[in-house]
Amino acid sequence: MREQSEIKDNIQNRDRIHVVMFFLSLLFMVLGGFILAWIIKIQTTYTVDSSVIGLFRPVEQKHVDHPVRGRILATDGRPMAISAPLYDIYMDCTVRKKDYEEEGKDSLERAWRNKARDLARYLSIEFKDRSADDYANMILNGRQKGSRYLRLQRNVDLSTIERVKTFPLFKEGPYTGGIIVEEHEERIYPYDSLARRVIGYVKEQNRIGLESSFDTELHGTEGYEWRRVTDKKRWIRDLDSAAVKVQNGNDIRTTLNVDFQDIADKALRAQINANEDIRAGICIIMEAKTGAIRAMVNLSRGATPQTVLWERENLALREVGEQGSVMKTVTLLSVVEDGYVTSLEQTLPTNHGFVPKGGIKGKPSAYPHDAHISDYERETGRHEITVMHGFEISSNYVFATLAETYYGKKPQEFIDHVYSYRLGEAFDFDIDGLRSPYVPRLDSPGWSSTTLGTMAYGYAMSVTPLHVATFYNGIANKGKMMKPYLVESVEKDGKVIKKYEPSALNASICSPATADTVTRALRAVVNSGTATRLRSAKLPVVGKTGTAQVVLTAEERKGSIDPYHDIAGRKKNQGTFVGFFPADNPKYTIMVTVYSYLSGKSFYGGTMPALAVRDIVDRIYALDEEWRPCLRPGGTYENANE
């Protein structure tokens, strides 16, 4: 009986558990069914509000990597232009002001202001441009007026920014300290104005120099990657998205020698600064054998002499003008090469300085009288002059007569010579902007009976200084005229990826014997002619001086009918010395030209330009390894390169 009762109790208990489990199970099944139905509903009918949809998507950003612009290097690898960011510092003066006001926390506001005064003291010490009180007034007035973007400094480097971020207040970060730092990529030119016109710049539409010509090499290629936020709110690259790696710009190695550029800049600056009438000056130093330009200086003042000397424009490439007597070498080279003048001691009748039309035996013509010849006749009593002496004293008469005598009936032959010296066209150069020269042809509108002779002494045709230097370099190189160039190679991470070799513009403008003869004449100019100031140079220099009057604009002439003088009789001069050194085995060709303002004074190639050349040559002599003496045992010296 008792057993039956226990069994009955057990059955009842089991049934109760069974029922509870059944209902629990049913509850879960209903819940499951409800969830399933809800999922089906969401999948089929539910649409998310468009304003909320962004919150459900993973946060991604496209990050563009800007390439680092390549460097421009000197020939020895010293950087002449580097890219690095600079920073502007601003301050949100109103930071936390509202919070402090709303919470009535005057003590916090007072503490903020005290820290701002400390900050002002630090800023004053760091930048030294304002007193601590000035900085404090700026910041506190800014807070008073609600300034959210107060500029404190511009163009600050990274080291300074890192220091500034440790200053009182700023070290508390942007949300309490109010510091705002804006970065912008800048080009740094460590040598300041040195060769700035050659190096150039790229600023929006303004593009000049190597920066412009080699922009595609220097610029590099932009890259990008998609970034997403991690659970810890860090931006990382999204590996599931496409990415393009940034390609930094290549470096450009130039032919420029920083020391030579520095020496030339300094020497030219000294000459120009010493004379208020000088407006500008250029200097080109070119390696004779290769045509590599080792220095190219372009200094000019502004509209008035009081303005600072600066590399304002590339006059060496752009100042097309009549070059004067330095072009007599063109005539001399032509007559010697053609065999019309077989010896520099060959004589011409002086004819009292009046150029005979059609040659030696012709009648006096419309050429201007050459006073040098009258002086020569008076001083020597002779009525004949050698070609050499005519070159030494730079006689216009001698060279106009030579041209009239030998090319009077076939002027095209002389013009062809000029073109073969590449003086009649703008050749391809590493910097854009080399201007085209003007060399008259027989059918040119201005061709007259005196054009040929005028060309023979450097007028009537206009060329750039670079053309002149290239021509003289051809003589220095025994007749092989090299193409001037400025870029040696393009490099990537120190490896050469493109090499530019020297090339010739004209493999032979004359025979080596002709080049030697002309060099002898150029030596005479320095020894006993118009460039005697160079006799004392530490290396033997040969070359030619030239003094030319510049054709004035109508505005400058102010009504004068003379193209070279204004109504007050003032003129613009340019004085040049161009030559090469050392005379026996030329290594460098050098050209210095100075340009004057409108002035009553005359400027000659044998004065300022020659002095600048002497200074440059002396300094190059002391620096260039070529001329280092070698001390051998026993105390004997010889050249280090022997």
Partner: protein
């Protein structure tokens, strides 16, 4: 297969679910290792994904550090070469009151032979 058989199978399944015997009836214990392996794989995937995030964050930090060093290097290089020109050296010597100047003659080279 008749409808009756299908209905019978559904009813048995529902009953097994209700009584909590479904996994036992279908012998799910045979796949225990596979289920654990799948769980481990998922766990590893999540862990590795977090590690990748961490590494990429570190790569980002290192890139920023390298960029900072590059900028510092460029700034120092510019400052150094600025002092390296002959003119700058002359000016500095003058400022320091030194009588030393750039050489007027080239330096001699001593050779043994």
């Amino acid at each position: 297969m008749s409808i009756k058989t299908v209905w019978h199978a559904i009813r048995n399944t529902l009953r097994a679910i209700r009584s909590g015997e479904l996994l036992l009836r279908i012998r799910a214990d045979k796949y225990y290792m596979h289920i654990m392996y799948l769980f481990l794989l998922m766990w590893m995937t999540i862990l590795l994904s977090l590690q990748v995030d961490k590494t990429l964050a570190r790569v980002g930090d290192n890139k920023a550090a390298l960029e900072r060093l590059r900028i510092h290097h460029a700034e120092k290089e510019a400052a150094l070469v600025k002092l390296h020109s002959a003119s700058a050296a002359e000016i500095r010597l003058r400022e320091l009151g030194s009588e030393a100047a750039l050489p007027n003659e080239p330096a001699s080279v001593i050779k043994k032979k």
